[in-house]
Symmetry: C2
Subunit: 416 residues, 2 copies
């Protein structure tokens, strides 16, 4: 990289302006954003994004699943473009940063290079992936998954929302069903900037998270069958209490996750008592449970530790505990050279940083299965996301965009 | 009691027939009864009951709250009548025995005495209390509570159901608003036969429960305020998990109840996670909790043991646990001479028996505050009640009615 580039920084005010200008598309009274994928508000932000990319000299391609690829030409157009971006759709009561920061920071990288008159060797490709959130259509991250070959385009086009509208119909309705086959644009690598969605960077006072792994996940559906009986008339030793059973399960999950730490986590997120009443001992409970770890062997070990713990609780309490593993996703191992590129960019810019595991799924996790991929995290307030009060500082967003800029420059190369 | 009475038994087939004949009033497809107080089905069973009592030679009085008192004359009408009975209303998906056994067994006692030509010294008063269940109008056991002076008649008449219909309007609608002031019929004592609604008699193979106490109750409303965050991105040590907190609370309640056993019980019956999601750590949970004990001092001790346990859990997990004691009902101590009368009757009839605490509330618990009162329990299948599958054997129901017969004979006296 040319020496004079080492201090190049993005335009913080312009990035911040883009984030807050586009937050009007689906703005909620509490300061968040409701911009469900392929809805009217998504069309508005897509139109804004296409216009901005074209104004920045890019050629915007749209694939059959509506994913937007804005190509900034490089010196050597035989080289595969370096992909950078994220997504502009949100949760039903989402925030202003999840996905949006990474997409608009990618746009800001192009604008910064334009202002500085810098041509990269390889072309760049700013990407807005369709339906990362998965709150209107399942699965989440469907467009990047299709790009990675996990689903056919036809399969995804046929998926329907709660009103029975298919992805294909929704794309047509907003005019974003593109003509290019999914995966036609062959990227050389992909870099995604994102808010952490967890509390670690903030708790440790670090500015940049250099993401080395994405957690693998096991999802379970559970059911406890005890015996509902009168809370006053049933002595303690004769009870088969489903809620007391669940309580032991929850604490066992917590203990097992801690024993496989520091990166393993285990959570019981949902639990519903059947026909609850103040004076009836809970008889039946349905619950959901998950384990996550950045290591596949640890995922196995978590499941192995869980089974006998559950069996012991069920036998001792004379209840049935049914546990159904409904999904397993293997951990993501990000490319070591890509991790090093992010680390170097952060170090060169003088930011504090730490290696970090992504607890959430991202489009980058799909891309990592088919090309060298990196992720950059910046702190978010109190670790909150998927919430209207999701927040991040301008300084941290700017730092993340600068790391994205220099990571991409090192990957794309600049004629010296 | 005259010697020739000692082997007197009720007519088992007639009792069983009455139970199953009246079960048609509100019969449910699953074999239960839906007979909400003061509704159309309740009118039908009341009409049947009045006709049956009058056919048995009784004079039926109805008070201002619709409670039915069928007087069988005694030799000495200056003596206060001996009350016996229960209630004919049911839960929305109730069974054929709860309340009904006690009321129809009281009728059967009169029929048996008629057949045998036996005149008691004191008159008898067969009672059907209005709204024991409390599922249409609150509070439960309202008519006997008003009889005992806990509420004014006007207060109860003004209580409304979910449709806004008042007790007074409902009484008028079925023609059961009586002219007699509540409490005008001064009983000398009261005896109530009831299914146990718990598993103890069945588990121990006993036929008769001689009830010595009714449990006192403390009800709490609880709320846990933790912090909802991403299940994948929040490390175990940084969590403030409301469900893991609740789990410790549930197990603490269980442990505390056991430590104050054998008659103390503690239950968390309801728990609702706010905005639950499979991959979100539960942030807020509302729950309800209760303790019961037949001893007032033990109730105090249960509450005293709970407070520091809750405080320790909240402090350690950095969450708030709010606990609001919303109701306290003191234990019922049944009259020792009445308990002895039931025990003697059971022994004389050769039934196996044990002393037992009533875990549920009953009209008899209200009566016990104003007159000598006794309760007789018989087993029910698996301890189940307030359920369409509630079940009891003909043999046990017959045994309970025989104990009722001989208890009442000993209380009323028979000219020798």
């Amino acid at each position: 990289m040319a020496k004079h580039l080492s201090n190049l920084q993005i335009d913080s005010a312009r990035l911040w302006g883009a984030i807050h200008d586009t937050a009007q598309f689906g703005a909620t009274p509490k300061g968040g954003v409701r911009r469900l994928t392929l809805g009217a508000e998504d069309k508005r932000v897509r139109d804004w994004f296409r216009a901005a990319c074209e104004a920045a000299g890019c050629e915007v391609h749209i694939d059959a699943l509506g994913t937007m690829y804005a190509i900034r030409r490089g010196r050597d157009m035989t080289k595969a473009p370096i992909g950078l971006g994220s997504h502009l759709d949100t949760q039903p009561t989402g925030g202003k940063y999840d996905g949006i920061l990474g997409t608009l920071a990618a746009l800001e990288v192009v604008r910064t290079l334009n202002d500085a008159g810098i041509e990269t060797d390889a072309p760049l490709c700013v990407i807005n992936w369709t339906n990362e959130e998965g709150s209107r259509f399942a699965p989440a991250m469907m467009a990047s998954a299709a790009y990675a070959g996990d689903y056919t385009t036809a399969d995804i086009l046929g998926r329907t929302d709660a009103e029975g509208i298919s992805v294909g119909q929704a794309l047509d309705a907003i005019g974003y069903r593109g003509t290019e086959p999914v995966g036609q644009i062959k990227l050389g690598s992909f870099v995604e900037l994102h808010i952490e969605q967890g509390p670690i960077l903030e708790a440790e006072g670090k500015t940049i998270g250099v993401v080395d792994h994405g957690q693998g996940i096991i999802w379970y559906d559970g059911k406890i069958t005890g015996f509902a009986s009168h809370a006053g008339a049933t002595p303690m030793p004769l009870r088969r209490d489903a809620l007391a059973t669940l309580s032991e399960v929850v604490l066992a999950v917590e203990t097992i996750a801690r024993e496989h730490g520091p990166n393993a986590v285990g959570t019981v997120g949902e639990a519903v008592i059947d026909n609850p009443s103040r004076n009836v001992i809970p008889g039946d409970i349905a619950f959901t449970m998950e384990f996550r770890s950045p290591d596949g062997g640890t995922l196995d070990a978590l499941d192995r530790a869980l089974r006998p713990a559950i069996a012991e609780i069920a036998a001792r309490r004379k209840v049935a505990i049914d546990l159904d593993m409904i999904w397993r996703k293997e951990p993501t191992h990000f490319d070591p050279r890509m991790i090093a590129a992010v680390q170097s960019a952060s170090d060169a810019l003088g930011y504090s940083s730490r290696r970090i595991t992504s607890g959430a799924g991202h489009d980058a996790c799909n891309m990592a299965t088919v090309m060298p991929t990196a992720m950059i995290f910046v702190p978010c307030k109190d670790g909150i996301s998927h919430n209207e009060i999701e927040d991040a500082t301008q300084a941290d967003c700017t730092a993340g965009a600068n790391v994205l800029l220099h990571t991409v420059l090192s990957l794309a190369g600049v004629a010296g």
